[in-house]
């Protein structure tokens, strides 16, 4: 390398003997605290996990074994399973700097499709379930296309989709609920995700398993595959990602379609959890805010490109713990809302504080 150095300007002649070692500094900070700080720095999803554990401990101390029992703790998992799955879909969208207001509506519509196909047209559940999932994916594809090709703001696209899907859901279902007796007798596969098994006092349903598997698989894909890196890059700075060689369109389409598919799964899980198919399920109306809340509490930036899906999962659990804990403590509904509002702010403030102390 020094051969050309002589061609350079006169003052560069000494460069050939420049130091060739990577810079190192002695680190005088030692001990446990520093190790913890480092762990939190490297794995930011640990922060909401700490908040979650703290919340569980506090409720356990206040409410005793009524709360801190395998049954109650797994009940929380059951209560958050739908929001948890929707939060997984929402995470994907938000990582690309989007936002999806339609997740809940898509989930409800997919469950209605599965039910109506089975009961109205007599299609066996083995086909009507994939049909529901396909509809979810197709809605996601439509949103993705509008965001990526027509370049509309995701907020507007999914707001419109929310209204369209919700209204379609009421119109198509004719506001009819499919009763659990009928599902149990004629199409048990529809309710599969409600199947439960017991481990000691703990009760786990297949829907809970589905949620956890989904989060783990997506966590793997986002961290360890090229696709995952592209999702982050597009959300971080779409223009830079495109200049660097990422196919923005394909990435966005894949994300919205996958999110739609996951919402379809949430719809299937809903049938299992509630036993019935109900077009007026409130998930259609409040599922979006709930899932966005979980994502943001989990430390994922609404501006895209930053955060971990595990954070969103812990975020959903944090809200679930607060809700169940406060309800068990007997706070009345308005006080519960008020306290949950305060606790959400508090949880994120603690989160922020931990980050600040450890950075």
């Amino acid at each position: 390398m020094s051969e050309t150095a002589s061609k350079g300007q006169d003052y560069e002649s000494s460069l050939s003997s420049a130091s060739n070692r990577v810079a190192e500094f002695e680190d005088t900070r030692k001990g446990l605290i520093h190790r913890i700080q480092h762990a939190l720095h490297v794995t930011p999803a640990l922060v909401p996990l700490i908040v979650l554990l703290a919340a569980i401990v506090i409720f356990a101390l206040t409410l005793g074994s009524r709360f801190f029992s395998p049954g109650t703790l797994t009940l929380i998992l059951q209560q958050v399973q739908i929001v948890g799955i929707l939060a997984a879909a929402q995470t994907l969208i938000i990582l690309t700097a989007g936002i999806d207001l339609s997740v809940g509506a898509i989930a409800v519509f997919c469950s209605v499709i599965m039910g109506a196909f089975t009961f109205r047209y007599g299609i066996p559940p083995l086909f009507s379930i994939p049909a529901g999932l396909a509809v979810g994916t197709a809605i996601g594809a439509a949103s993705g296309w509008l965001v990526s090709r027509v370049k509309l703001p995701p907020f507007i696209v999914t707001l419109g989709m929310w209204q369209i899907v919700l209204a379609a859901n009421y119109l198509y279902s004719r506001n009819e609920t499919i009763r659990s007796q009928d599902i149990n007798e004629q199409a048990p596969l529809l309710g599969l995700m409600g199947e439960r098994f017991q481990l000691g006092g703990a009760i786990i349903t297949l829907g809970v398993v589905a949620m956890i598997v989904l989060v783990v698989v997506l966590g793997y894909c986002l961290r360890s595959t090229a696709w995952g890196r592209h999702v982050y890059a597009v959300g971080d700075d779409a223009e830079a990602a495109e200049l660097a060689g990422v196919n923005r369109h394909r990435t966005i389409m894949s994300v919205y379609m996958l999110a739609g598919f996951i919402c379809g799964i949430a719809g299937w899980v809903m049938i299992g959890r509630f036993g019935s198919v109900s077009p007026s399920a409130s998930t259609g109306v409040v599922g979006n805010i709930q899932s966005i809340t979980a994502v943001v509490i989990g430390g994922i930036s609404l501006f895209g490109g930053r955060g971990s899906i595990y954070g969103a999962f812990f975020g959903a659990l944090i809200v679930g713990v607060f809700e169940l804990g406060l309800r068990m403590a007997g706070a009345n509904a308005q006080w519960t809302y008020l306290l949950i509002g305060a606790l959400i702010i508090g949880a994120v403030a603690v989160d922020q504080w931990i980050r600040k102390v450890t950075s």
């Binding site: 460069l15 971080d236 200049l243 060689g245």
Partner: protein
């Protein structure tokens, strides 16, 4: 120069509202050469190479690759034709790590089952490769290869972008002010790298405001002024002083050069 240009442009125009960035600009790059592009700030150099690499679509004009007219819809299309570019804005994802940025769009997968079916990335291999490339550029101050790009110093960031282009370019490499933020040692390494690449037979477009660097490595110099090619000069037959005078409008170039 009876050779056919590998990359050429004729009459490129690009306007932004009331601002004219390119004003019927021509361009020629011949095989195996280092072409320097010099010009005042805001002369339109970056706009020119953005048009050539598909990052912006010109309002008028034609681009030819190997003599055939092409239109690049986007940078990916240009890249598929082997044109690799370091933009002045660097085009990095700030929150992602150095390794992620270097391999963006060209990730290395594990071999075997994990890679083939689970599409797992080979982080270790990518880190090793990235560290090597950065060492080659003399960026010894990067202590943590997993650092997010937004936390790098200005020069470190530029070094990562240059290392990426140099490692992956195949047909044409375009560098927009690659040494602007680099230190003395790091700049020298980049110049060596440019000559290395040229030795591999790949032509290079180098935009730079550093006249000694330009005159040291360039085979031809494209002087850009007010959105168009003013003239093309030979660094061996002209003084730096004249080149600077042309580009700042202090002197008119002789008419025979203007046609080149």
């Amino acid at each position: 120069m009876t050779q056919q240009p590998i990359l050429a442009a004729r009459g490129l125009v690009k306007r932004y509202g009331k601002v004219t960035a390119l004003d019927r600009c021509d361009f020629d790059l011949y095989p195996g050469e280092i072409l320097a592009v010099i010009g005042d700030n805001g002369a339109g150099k970056s706009s020119l190479i953005k048009a050539l690499s598909g990052a912006v679509t010109p309002d008028a004009g034609e681009i030819r690759l190997d003599g055939k007219p092409v239109t690049f819809e986007n940078p990916i299309a240009a890249r598929e034709h082997g044109i690799e570019t370091v933009y002045q804005t660097l085009a990095m994802s700030p929150a992602l790590s150095i390794v992620d940025n270097m391999f963006m769009g060209r990730e290395i997968r594990r071999s075997g089952f994990m890679g083939k079916y689970l599409r797992k990335l080979d982080k270790a291999a990518m880190e090793k490769f990235a560290r090597e490339k950065l060492n080659e550029l003399g960026l010894m101050t990067i202590q943590n290869i997993g650092q997010a790009v937004e936390t790098l110093s200005g020069g470190q960031r530029q070094g990562v972008a240059v290392a990426r282009a140099a490692a992956f370019g195949s047909k044409v490499i375009i560098l927009d002010e690659p040494t602007a933020a680099l230190g003395v040692k790091e700049s020298r390494k980049v110049l060596e790298l440019i000559q290395d690449v040229k030795r591999r037979g790949i032509p290079i477009v180098l935009i730079s405001h550093n006249m000694p660097h330009v005159f040291e490595v360039a085979d031809r110099i494209h002087v850009h002024r007010l959105g168009r090619r003013l003239c093309v000069v030979d660094p061996k037959s002209i003084t730096m002083n004249d080149a600077v005078a042309f580009m700042t409008g202090a002197k008119e170039p002789p008419s025979d050069l203007a046609a080149a």
